[in-house]
């Protein structure tokens, strides 16, 4: 019973704070049922709650089926959790002989799920005659398994990786199999230069591409692409293949590369939260190229975007965005309006405040 006392803050230096909490949750959930509601499993509690709600709804005078069932889950619930609830509720309504239908014209029976600090509150709302009928039931949250609980607090981490007075066209991580490097494509003195930085941020290599026949442009853009040991720089009108290891000059060919205009913001601008499975979508900061960009991240499917949104303001407009492969982070190329320099930031999500 007293197993919680085996925890001490002393141990926690091994685990960061949230971990301790998670473990606490897990172990308490497993070992120490806090209330005397005893169910065979968490589904039992869920089903019992659904049953109670159905019972109350069924008791609403003048309520006739068929009803169109609407489900409004708590914003940060995982999908599986919602499905279980829906199934249980539909089942419970069935048992109460409340006919449910998917017809658009049928009167709605909306069920809302909400979490309070200690409970899950289910609210059924329907319209009978000229009045709204509301039925509410609650069950202790502790009776539900922790996996279905909302994600832990997330914050946006931001790190400046590189800064240059030259226009940064693109930046990307690449690996030579041993080390991971940061490659940067610069537009310097009307030529394109590739730069390689080691993980410590030291410049390892500066590789002028000497692109023959590259038309000077006021709107330079480019993209780094890696295929094994081969690197490519896709530029306006030209694509150059080069290698960091060989002294061979870059081979450039005429190949039109279309940088889509304003819709350059990738649809997969998504960061995965390390504190849960949730994906956070980074919305296009947009705006004028003369304004500071504010990056907004919202969890996928978030209904209360305003409270859950993470924001970060950059010192200038975001010129390019390069997601990391595992969505763990992303590189942002930003023009710093204060210094006029171009900067490369890494953004990622971190748990806890």
């Amino acid at each position: 019973m007293d197993s919680s006392s085996e925890f001490s803050r002393h141990n926690r230096w091994v685990y960061p704070g949230f971990l301790g909490l998670f473990l606490l949750i897990g172990l308490f959930a497993a070992i120490n049922p806090p209330r005397t509601f005893v169910f065979a499993d968490s589904d039992a509690a869920l089903k019992e709650t659904a049953r109670r709600l159905a019972e109350r709804v069924a008791a609403i005078p003048g309520l006739h089926g068929p009803l169109r069932f609407e489900w409004h889950p708590q914003g940060n619930w995982a999908e599986g959790e919602g499905t279980r609830w829906q199934d249980s509720l539909r089942d419970a309504f069935d048992r109460r002989a409340l006919q449910l239908s998917d017809e658009a014209g049928a009167p709605a029976l909306a069920v809302y799920a909400a979490e309070t600090p200690s409970e899950v509150v289910l609210t059924a709302k329907t319209h009978v005659g000229d009045r709204d009928e509301v039925r509410i039931v609650a069950l202790p949250r502790s009776l539900l398994p922790p996996a279905e609980l909302r994600v832990a607090p997330v914050r946006l981490k931001r790190q400046l990786l590189y800064e240059s007075s030259d226009r940064i066209l693109d930046a990307a991580w690449f690996s030579d199999g041993e080390e991971t490097y940061l490659a940067i494509l610069l537009y310097k003195n009307f030529d394109v230069v590739a730069v390689r930085l080691d993980p410590m941020g030291q410049i390892q290599q500066t590789l002028p591409l000497n692109v023959a026949g590259l038309k000077p442009t006021r709107d330079p853009h480019g993209e780094l692409v890696f295929h094994g040991s081969q690197s490519s720089a896709r530029l306006w009108g030209k694509t150059c293949d080069f290698s960091w290891n060989s002294a061979v000059e870059a081979k450039c060919r005429t190949e039109k590369f279309n940088m889509p205009g304003d819709s350059a913001w990738p649809a997969d601008a998504v960061l995965t939260s390390p504190c849960g499975d949730a994906n956070w979508t980074i919305s296009d900061p947009g705006g004028e190229p003369t304004a500071r960009a504010v990056l907004r991240l919202a969890p996928d499917g978030a209904t209360q975007s305003s409270s859950a949104t993470l924001t970060s303001e950059f010192p200038g407009p975001v010129l390019n965005f390069s997601p990391e492969q595992n969505s763990g982070g992303a590189l942002l190329m930003v023009r710093n309006l204060s210094t006029g320099n171009y900067e490369v930031y890494k953004i990622s999500l971190a748990c806890g405040d």
């Binding site: 006392s5 002393h10 704070g17 606490l24 897990g26 499993d41 200690s118 509150v121 949250r141």
Partner: protein
């Protein structure tokens, strides 16, 4: 018995968390350092018996008191009640009688042991007459006249700390910190025993049953103006400071790390009792329909607040979304047109007293007046234009701020009502959310209290504050916070290294 599924799920989540944490945070927690906390309240009391329900001031007091005193149980962020000074609890089928087993081997800061009698006395003094609390051999029995299924929520929040009152009036706690120094704001007033300090210094309780806290010292400075607190954070004069909602955006723009709680402060209007004449019912309703809560929350409070249509917030009840913000200006004007002569607000301005401190609340009061004017209702913010408060205090409207103290919606609503002039009571069986909803709806339909917005608490954190895990309901949990060593202050770093090496105590180590 729990299902295998849930155990598995717990294990998986724990493992996931472990992996993620290890990847993210390589540095181990550090013992030592001084945590400087700035609070806006100019005076706080560490005696829970002195706290005023709903007051912003008392909520600051509670934050600091929770460092000194413990509760029987706490609630974690995942809805689970955690054993604190009570290790086990049971109740009867009616939820009227609850048995709590007290943790053994817990000592007050002066070394005296925590006994069931002391705990019972402390709880009895804070929880009022709703409960009869009796000490048993190993714990407490709490008997409630009404079914109290929410007693754990009550005990995990509000004023229900366990303390021991000394003969000199000072209170001793079992919490992670000890009061080392309380520098009063002014020379002792009428009651010299009252602790109303301007600066409070707390030292880590080395012998805390739950283990020594990470930081050595918590220095609380009171009465810091809002902007000053923000600057203190920026110039490294504070680790933790309260941020007013109007400064949140500025703070964030300046790269400050700002945490927020769930909306904890209700800003609402209430009518004075004397206005409860039938004629004023339509006045109440007209005002209720005239107020534009949306702009209040999203523009005046710059999206740092949420509009409130209910007395209790959604995060606490789960059903608040059912109440709709009822703005309906044409209907308000219609009602206004039907006013009989002589009703305040028609020919004669209704005086709005802003009972909460600060410019923000005054601004909201002015907004109420502006909104009201759209419906041809005359509302004048008292104390702004005219210094003379000739009108009787009973002829007005009050804008007040209410801090949600309790985790039990029923208790919160009851307390809120008890503080209102007419002090009505909730009916029995209000622990059932549906009943509570019905009660609240009735109250709202009476239009005696008109909720406007709910505000979260915002806390600015310096970058070196780690493991901050404030609860949505405003518990700061500072015992778990640790401070990153400062490169600049080598002396502090050296001092804290020593602490780091100290073996931390495990609960019950003294046994």
């Amino acid at each position: 018995m729990r299902s295998i599924k849930s155990v598995l799920r717990a294990a998986i989540s724990a493992a996931l968390a472990l992996v993620a944490a290890a990847a993210l945070q390589a540095a181990p927690p550090r013992f030592g350092g001084t945590l400087r906390v700035k609070l806006r309240s100019s005076r706080i009391s560490l005696d829970p018996r002195e706290w005023t329900p709903g007051s912003l001031n008392s909520s600051d007091s509670r934050k600091i008191a929770s460092l000194v005193y413990d509760r029987l149980v706490t609630l974690n962020d995942y809805g689970q009640f955690q054993p604190a000074l009570a290790t086990e609890w049971t109740h009867d089928a009616t939820f009227k009688t609850w048995h709590f087993k007290l943790r053994a081997g817990v000592h007050f800061s002066d070394g005296s042991a925590l006994t069931p009698a002391l705990a019972a006395a402390a709880l009895q003094s804070t929880s009022g007459k709703n409960f009869e609390i009796a000490a048993t051999e190993a714990g407490l029995t709490i008997h409630s006249l009404q079914p109290a299924p929410d007693i754990l929520e009550q005990l995990a929040s509000g004023n229900d700390f366990i303390f021991r009152a000394q003969l000199d009036g000072k209170l001793l706690g079992t919490g992670p910190f000890l009061v080392a120094e309380a520098v009063p704001e002014a020379p002792a007033e009428a009651n010299p025993l009252a602790t109303k300090p301007a600066r409070i210094k707390l030292l880590a309780n080395e012998n805390c049953w739950a283990g020594r806290p990470f930081v050595d010292v918590v220095e609380v400075t009171l009465g810091e103006p809002a902007l000053r607190q923000l600057l203190d954070l920026q110039v490294n004069r504070a680790e933790i400071a309260e941020i007013t909602p109007d400064l949140v955006r500025k703070g964030r723009e300046e790269g400050l790390r700002i945490w927020n709680s769930a909306p904890l402060v209700l800003v609402a209007l209430r009518f004075d009792d004397a206005l409860a004449a039938p004629a004023s019912d339509s006045l109440h309703e007209a005002l209720w329909l005239a107020i534009d809560r949306d702009t209040m929350a999203n523009v005046l409070l710059q999206r740092q607040a949420q509009l409130a249509a209910a007395l209790l917030p959604q995060w606490l009840t789960g059903y608040a979304f059912l109440f709709e913000s009822p703005m309906n200006l044409p209907r308000a004007k219609e009602l206004r047109a039907s006013f009989p002569a002589g009703v305040a607000g028609a020919e004669q301005a209704l005086r709005l007293h802003v009972d909460a401190p600060g410019d923000l609340f005054k601004l909201m009061g002015e907004r109420v007046a502006v909104n009201a004017r759209q419906a041809n209702l005359l509302v004048q913010v008292a104390g702004v234009g005219s210094a003379n408060n000739t009108a009787a205090p009973s002829d007005g409207l009050h804008l007040f701020a209410w801090h949600y103290d309790s985790l039990s919606p029923r208790t919160e609503l009851e307390t809120l009502l008890r503080q209102m002039p007419d002090g009505s009571d909730l009916g029995a069986n209000a622990a059932d959310p549906e009943q509570l909803f019905a009660q609240e709806r009735r109250l709202l339909e009476e239009h005696r209290i008109l909720p406007l917005v709910v505000l979260p608490e915002y806390v600015g954190l310096r970058a070196n504050v780690h493991n901050w895990n404030g609860s949505p309901w405003g518990d700061w949990r500072l015992a778990d916070v640790w401070l990153e060593a400062e490169d600049t202050s080598s002396g502090k770093a050296a001092g804290s290294t020593q602490k780091e090496n100290m073996p931390a105590r495990t609960p019950g180590a003294n046994q």
